[in-house]
């Protein structure tokens, strides 16, 4: 498979309510793909299906095939036999609303590393710094890494969550409206980040701004009435 992510026959349910109906799409590897469409139709839900995070949401259920390409081969995400935590370390997800963990800024970023077994203090510190720099947050927080992450502003929290997703150096990155809670300046910074990352990673971006998508995406899809279709 040459695509980064390939979806086939994907249906998604919240309880009895069906949100996605057998959608299919192929998102290219090492490129930025975007999904646009009217709100409330399931764009975010599509992202949830890629790293199977819907299993943490009571009542949510997905059926169908989601194949992803990682270094070392491809993987069927909905295969019950795969090592889910390991897969999720290689597929980063940035949620729509920032959700910093109840810890200091530093520990928010060190947490995924610790869970992955990386304990060497120097390595952790350097990776944390690298990720914060990538998310253009380092300059603002370098002096106060021990502060509670929840004290940051909304825009800073969102950049923190992006940094947190990047600290594990994922191969695929899923972003759910990453700039919707940011002001124009911060949004611009993040868009720059996304363009840069798009050359090395497979990026899937959900956005409600057609302008943003036009600026950033290599391929655009439209999700409407349960159908996903590529647009020019």
């Amino acid at each position: 498979m040459k695509d980064g992510i390939r979806i086939e026959n994907l249906s998604f349910y919240y309880g009895e309510r069906r949100v996605l109906d057998r959608v299919a799409a192929a998102f290219p590897a090492r490129a930025v793909s975007a999904v646009v469409g009217p709100s409330g139709q399931g764009k975010s839900t599509l992202l949830l299906a890629v790293n199977r995070i819907w299993e943490e949401i009571p009542g949510a259920r997905a059926e169908g095939s989601v194949r992803i390409r990682l270094a070392g081969g491809e993987l069927e995400v909905n295969d019950p036999g795969i090592d889910l935590p390991a897969m999720r370390r290689r597929v980063g997800l940035v949620f729509q609303a920032p959700n910093p963990l109840p810890m200091s800024i530093f520990r928010n970023l060190a947490f995924p590393l610790k869970v992955a077994g990386i304990r060497n203090k120097t390595e952790v510190a350097s990776r944390v710094e690298k990720a914060l720099k990538q998310a253009f947050l380092w300059d603002e927080v370098a002096g106060r890494l021990a502060e509670d992450a929840r004290k940051l502003s909304g825009g800073q929290q969102q950049r923190l969550c992006i940094a947190r997703a990047l600290v594990l150096e994922p191969e695929i990155l899923l972003l759910d409206e990453p700039t919707s809670s940011l002001d124009a300046a911060a949004a611009g910074i993040i868009e720059e980040l996304i363009s840069g990352l798009g050359k090395r990673l497979t990026l899937l971006l959900v956005s409600h701004s057609e302008d943003q998508v036009a600026r950033l995406a290599d391929k655009v899809f439209r999700l409407e009435n349960g159908r996903l279709a590529a647009t020019a």
Binding site: I57, G59, L101
Partner: protein, 285 residues
């Protein structure tokens, strides 16, 4: 007919005041009737001597030991199972079994204590009598098991509530970062539900200390200081319940009020503790 608002409000206020003052009334009665016993030199005797009225010894030490040992043992027995059930209900959340278990547990909170005691007398006590060296079968262990059954539903509900209150966003963030279920539980959920867990434990302890029937029916009511979990014992509550039409002026009777006062103070302490825990919980972000 125009009902004057102020009068009605005054009425409601008086009702609330009256109800609230009951708590104080009860304290006053216990104090007044038990006061002669709380003077300086009698108090240490009260708390350290055994209960042998015929020999002039009116200490409530055996009852203190009984109450504390039965309550703590019951808590010890109930804790693991309650934690496990709470984990199932709020962390693992199997879609149909989870809510079912929760409903069964809620239902169990309404189980009459006297019925638990009754089943204990005719099912548990013979079991202990025949299989362990427990005399008549009525002992600390029997009462502790019965009491554990009483407090477990409360513990489970409090624990699962505490787990569920951990924001979903934190759990999802941790999962997206590659945490396994047990890592999410031990690193995110458990550390942030400790206060709720503590409240549950304190509440259950209060129920255990304040229960009368189970101890009365299952612990044997002997007045000697118990020396093992298989010895019979008497709790403060059972001691009060066993008022044998004593002479209202006698010292024995007055001791009862000292027991009542002690129980009141313990429950007061636990209530304040829970309020303190909950208030601090609300102050944090």
């Amino acid at each position: 007919m125009k009902i004057p608002e102020a009068a009605v409000e005054r009425l409601f206020f008086l009702a609330a005041l009256f109800c609230a003052s009951l708590a104080l009334f009860i304290l006053v009665f216990m104090l007044v009737l038990g006061r002669p016993l709380l003077t300086g030199d009698f108090l240490p005797r009260l708390l350290t001597e055994p209960w042998l009225p015929d020999r002039g010894l009116y200490g409530i030490l055996p009852m203190l030991v009984g109450t504390v040992s039965i309550a703590l043992l019951a808590l010890l027995l109930a804790l693991p199972m309650s934690l496990g059930c709470a984990v199932l209900i709020s962390v693992i959340r199997p879609p149909r079994f989870g809510p079912l278990l929760e409903r069964v547990v809620e239902f169990l909170t309404g189980m009459p204590t006297v019925v638990i005691g009754f089943v204990g007398v005719f099912l548990l006590v013979p079991l202990l009598r025949e299989n362990l060296d427990a005399g008549s079968g009525r002992c600390i262990l029997a009462a502790a098991i019965g009491l554990a059954g009483l407090i477990a539903p409360t513990l489970i509900l409090f624990f699962s509530d505490a787990f569920a209150r951990v924001p979903a966003g934190w759990r999802q963030a941790a999962a997206a970062l590659g945490c396994s279920r047990s890592q999410i539980f031990f690193r995110i959920i458990l550390p942030h539900s400790l206060r709720g867990l503590a409240s549950g434990v304190v509440l259950a302890l209060g129920r255990a200390v304040g229960d009368t029937l189970i101890a009365l029916m299952l612990a044997g009511n002997a007045v000697a200081v118990p020396h093992s979990v298989l010895s019979p014992a008497r709790t403060l509550t059972a001691h009060i319940a066993m008022l044998f039409a004593a002479d209202f002026e006698s010292l024995e009777f007055k001791i009862i009020f000292a027991c009542g006062l002690l129980l009141y103070l313990v429950s007061l302490l636990l209530t304040l503790l829970i309020r303190g825990l909950e208030r601090r919980g609300r102050c944090r972000i």
